[in-house]
Amino acid sequence: MARRRSSPLSLAAAGAAWLGYAFLALPSLIIIPMSFSNSDELSFPPHSISLYLYDKYFFESNWMAATLESLEVATGTAILSLLLGVGAAYGLSRAEFPAKRLITMFLLSPAFVPAIVLALGLYLYLGVAHLSGTTTGLIISHTLVAVPFVIVTAMAGLRHVDRHLEIAANVMGAGRLLVLRRITLPLLRPTILAAALFAFLISFDEVVISYFIAGVRTQTLPVKMYSAIHWEISPVLAAVSTLLTLLSLGICFVVALVRKDR
């Protein structure tokens, strides 16, 4: 086995793969050390270690306002897209009805329409509806992007819920809502948690649509970051980026744990 592993092909393949992993890890590797710099000039590697940039992020300027706005929008999006998405996934995986394939495709289609097209459409539409620049407008828009992912995640989870349990409960006289409440939803809990985290993160990171429809007072964190990279490349970005990377990492781990339980 050991001799076989070191064949030239495997070695070359492993080498290429590790180069690929390194390329993927590059941004995180460069940003984390930089975030501990103590000056307003970007430098890599930093000359000395401090929490100066984190201090600026948390206590100075309007970074915190943008973060709070993003938290609000992401929480609203997670709740709304769970209500719509888990419901739809339940109907799609348990019911038979005409044009089911077409409706499934329709519900998933926002995921592969370019963000810029959605952004333009929502910009025009929310303008007419007097919702542009509002937190409500942002939640409506982000939900439409998050729902397809909630549906796919929940449908995958529903495949693992034993249908015989549902049928048995039904045969023994439980109505369809009781079956849903007492059998299906409790078994689906880990999936729902994972879907909620996905929806939250999708909203928290969404930039293109928000850039088009956010107002001065409803600037989200990604919109603030976008203008900060575009106009000044502020070093605070390194601290923000590190925190965002940690958030993604945390969510990855939680989702991995949830998946394992299944």
Partner: protein
């Protein structure tokens, strides 16, 4: 089909059919918040009630538009090619690992996948800039003369986009590698085929649908890219998305912006239709 009939039989159509009400809220929501905005873009693209094709005619007659559309196709094609070349070895390596190790290594692909595109763009501006890490290494080793311009140009956009696309392609290729029957490989080994021969006559051809699906997905995603070309690209090297933004923000020409958007959605829609033929389940790259 048999499974479908059996399910109907198990609980009766009435019980199953009535569960369809759970789909209604989401369908109504998508109708109001997704379909209507798209229809508004279509309506605006023909000049509203004046109903003209003038804005579409401009797409092929104005040199700026032709250049931008051509740029978009070129950048997307090159980044897709680079993506497949980077993603294949990763997927191949992952497929050869025992499950536990694979799950661990998969984090290295999942983390960038879930990392904000802004974090990545920021990292690349730092890495590739005039005083960035790469130029620091180059000047330290080869002196001042070795400084290269890596940011705000085409290569920077390609690097940034490839970085964004690789995870999607890895998932797609990995799925097709893992779906291969290991018995085939064993059979080839027993019959004396070498590693290279097994790879080129068995593993690679069998994984091509996954490669194709990953490439199509990369094309779809890259043609609509906005952030990477805006932040890493040069001022003159726009993609369609950036031109839409330019029209909305600078020239307030919503008709032109809408015509461009419709053009973009038609082209990506064609690729999505192809993708759904190659691999129906692959449209949402986020699920493995």
């Amino acid at each position: 089909m048999a499974d479908h009939l059996r399910r109907r039989g198990a609980a009766g159509w009435g019980w199953r059919g009535s569960l369809a009400v759970f789909v209604i809220p989401a369908a109504l929501y998508m109708g109001a918040a997704f379909l209507l905005p798209l229809l508004m873009v279509a309506y605006t693209s023909v000049g509203g009630s004046s109903f003209t094709s003038a804005h579409y005619a401009e797409l092929v007659s104005r040199p700026l538009y032709v250049t931008v559309l051509w740029n978009t196709l070129q950048i997307s094609a090159f980044s897709t090619l680079a993506t497949v070349l980077v993603a294949y070895p990763i997927a191949y390596h992952l497929a050869r690992q025992p499950p536990r190790r694979r799950a661990l290594l998969l984090i290295l692909v999942l983390l960038p996948f879930w990392t904000s595109i802004l974090v990545k763009s920021f990292a690349f501006t730092v890495l590739l800039g005039q005083d960035g890490a790469i130029n620091m290494i180059l000047t330290a080793v080869f002196g001042e003369g070795a400084r290269v311009k890596l940011l705000f140009n085409r290569p920077a956009v390609l690097i940034g986009m490839t970085h964004y696309l690789v995870p999607f392609a890895v998932f797609s290729i990995l799925a097709s590698l893992l779906a291969q029957n290991p018995e085939l490989r064993r059979a080839a080994e027993i019959m004396g085929a070498g590693r290279w021969r097994i790879f080129f006559t068995l593993t690679l051809p069998l994984s091509l649908p996954g490669v194709l699906a990953g490439a199509l997905l990369s094309m779809i995603l890259s043609m609509g890219m906005f952030v990477t070309p805006a932040l890493l690209g040069g001022r003159g090297d726009l993609m369609v998305s950036n031109l839409v933004d330019f029209h909305v923000r600078e020239t307030l020409d919503w008709n032109a912006a809408s015509a461009l958007a419709i053009c973009l959605i038609v082209v990506t829609g064609l690729f999505a239709a192809l993708l759904s033929r190659v691999r129906p389940g692959q449209l949402l790259g986020r699920e493995i």
